[in-house]
Amino acid sequence: MKLYEYAAKEIFLKYDIPIPKGSLVSDVNSAVDTVKRMGDVVLKAQVLTGGRGKAGGIARAKDANEATSNAQRILGMEIKGFPVKKLLVEEYRQPLKEMYLGITIDRQAKCPVIMVSPSGGIDIEEVARNSPDKIIKMNVHPLSGLHDYQARTLANSLDRAKSREIIDIIKKLYRIFIDNDCQLAEINPLAETEKGIIALDAKMIIDDNALFRHDFKGEETNSLEEVAQKNGMSYVGLDGDIGCIVNGAGLAMATLDMVTQYGGKPANFMDVRAGANAEQVKAALSIVSSNRNVKAIIINIFGGLTKCDEAARGIIEIFPLIRKPIIVRLSGTNEKEGRAMLGKYGIHMAASTEEAAKGVVELGNPDK
């Protein structure tokens, strides 16, 4: 779960990491009021995607006029598909130097890794690509935690003169990373200003699997992704026209790959997970078919804990409402029973994933 910048900064505040004074607004008038109160500010689009700066989602405003025009412009924007609904209005702080500080998980070493670079800012990924020696990485022992000397070494590599302040921020960000089950906790830029080191931006991604022990409130958007998640499934929208429903992420990816190999374009990735029952299969079909681009649907179930007859029952119950061609492949637990059930309703069936993938591409392009 990605947090908005303002939500991450609320956490920073709680942990006493220095951030600019700011205020969250959702309309132009409030933005203007805030500028009148605070003076020289920056308006920052609150969207759950990177690259908003380059897209024009950040603008400085020194007076009410600039605030009005910029707030109006940004609140009307859509950045990489995300409409801007809120602005963070922050006092402007001139950065003398922009550094990078991020903590994520090193999958290979199986531990948190802290990364710093004296060259932070919007081009940090380019720095990582072109001057990897400018990124200093430090693995942290998962049980022992961050050792003081590690924070000191990292801070010294950024700015020896300011190392005390930076050590403090590194330690606090690490605590945030651990306390909140983060997959990512990032400050970019970590800026040196006249009044000290400060976090100008804040990015946090929380491990969805750990949300049960935290109290983060995501914003409801009722996207297909969210509806699927609430039903215990995972859905990712793609830009093709073949709807895909599969149990298991690996098999789902393999199915998408084969649809692609046969010339089709998947409209989505959907994993109904192991142990899916009739209700979930019904929900999956309803979600996938609600995408208007979908021309045909492939259902690929390899029964393990999932029973093929359960899946078939779900398909039969919703099938009349779908009005799009469907091809089903059932294999594994209770395969015979499931196939017999579908057979009665004349639903297309395939014996293998490859046959189903080939079949659904044909169903989706009846004219070819």
Binding site: N209, G250, L251, M258, L305, S331, S352
Partner: protein, 289 residues
């Protein structure tokens, strides 16, 4: 015969009284696995699938001296179940549970280094040695005894491939699912090492996914192996930067795309199959079944 487990391996089921634990215990017993007991705190004294249930792993160990444990407890409690198994000297811990927080798994993996336990998983289908024992959730009927080792990060895709091999008369020495989570216990290299040392295994099928560098890390090892390895990578059609259900499938910093993995394997002279049926063709061609 086979790796890690054999027909005498004694297994306990942590979370045996739950719906999935109970059903899978039944299927494992039907497969021939020696399930000697189960553990569910608070349920000590009852029987499930005709095996005794204990309150703690300690009691199960005292009574039955199991060699392995398979874990079906919910994700909030799974890390603790692994600690309990390891602290009680269980040699092989197979964790089926999906959805364990990644911070828990970092702590677990770090802790396990101080013990003598091996963890397979989590979020994995387990291990099957046809004709001997199965610890996990792979469907019973798909397996066939033979000389191909299968190792995979996936669940149902593993079934699909094992099933296809068997239908084509290609038996397996063992099928192992290492799990799709970003941080897990046993790696591709660990399993490849076991297959390399196993006389029953003549060739290996390795099924990878986008995300992470688990596949790339195995390249050097595969190059040094005496046995042929056929790889298959799914997620070719995945758009970069999209999360694909598995936490293990997050693509970051342009590393770990299917195209990059396939290129890395092919540059190293390792066979990359393009589909499950392509795997079968490669094996038949090599006549290693």
């Amino acid at each position: 015969m086979g790796i890690l487990i054999n027909k005498d391996t004694k297994v306990i089921v942590q979370g045996i009284s739950g719906k999935e634990g109970s059903l899978q215990a039944k299927w494992m017993i039907e497969f021939g696995t020696k399930i000697v007991g189960g553990v569910t705190p608070g349920k000590g004294g009852i029987e499930v699938q005709k095996v005794p249930v204990f309150d703690s792993v300690r009691e199960a160990v005292d009574v039955n001296k199991p060699d392995a444990s398979v874990i079906f407890v919910p994700p909030q409690f799974a890390a603790d179940a692994i600690f309990e198994a390891a602290d009680n000297g269980i040699a092989l811990i197979v964790c089926i549970t999906e959805g364990i927080p990644v911070h828990d798994m970092m702590r677990v993996c770090s802790y396990l280094k101080t013990t003598s336990s091996r963890l397979l998983g989590p979020n994995c289908p387990g291990i099957t040695v046809p004709g001997a024992s199965k610890i996990g959730i792979m469907p019973n009927p798909i397996h066939m005894s033979g000389n191909i080792g299968v190792v995979s990060r996936s669940g149902t895709l593993t079934y699909e491939i094992v099933d296809l091999l068997s239908r084509n008369g290609i038996g397996q020495s063992a099928s192992v699912g290492i799990g799709g989570d970003p941080v897990n216990g046993t790696s591709f290299v660990d399993v490849l090492q076991l297959f390399e040392n196993d006389p029953e295994t003549h060739a290996v099928v390795m099924v990878g996914e986008i995300g992470g560098t688990a596949e790339e890390e195995s390249i050097d090892f595969i190059k040094g192996m005496s046995k042929p390895v056929i790889t298959y990578i799914v997620g070719v059609s995945a758009p970069p930067g999209k999360t694909m259900g598995h936490a293990g499938a997050i693509i970051s910093m342009g590393v770990g795309t299917a195209a990059e993995k396939i290129k890395a394997f092919e540059d190293a002279g390792i066979i990359v199959a393009r589909s499950p049926s392509d795997i079968v063709q490669h094996i038949k061609k090599m006549d290693y079944s």
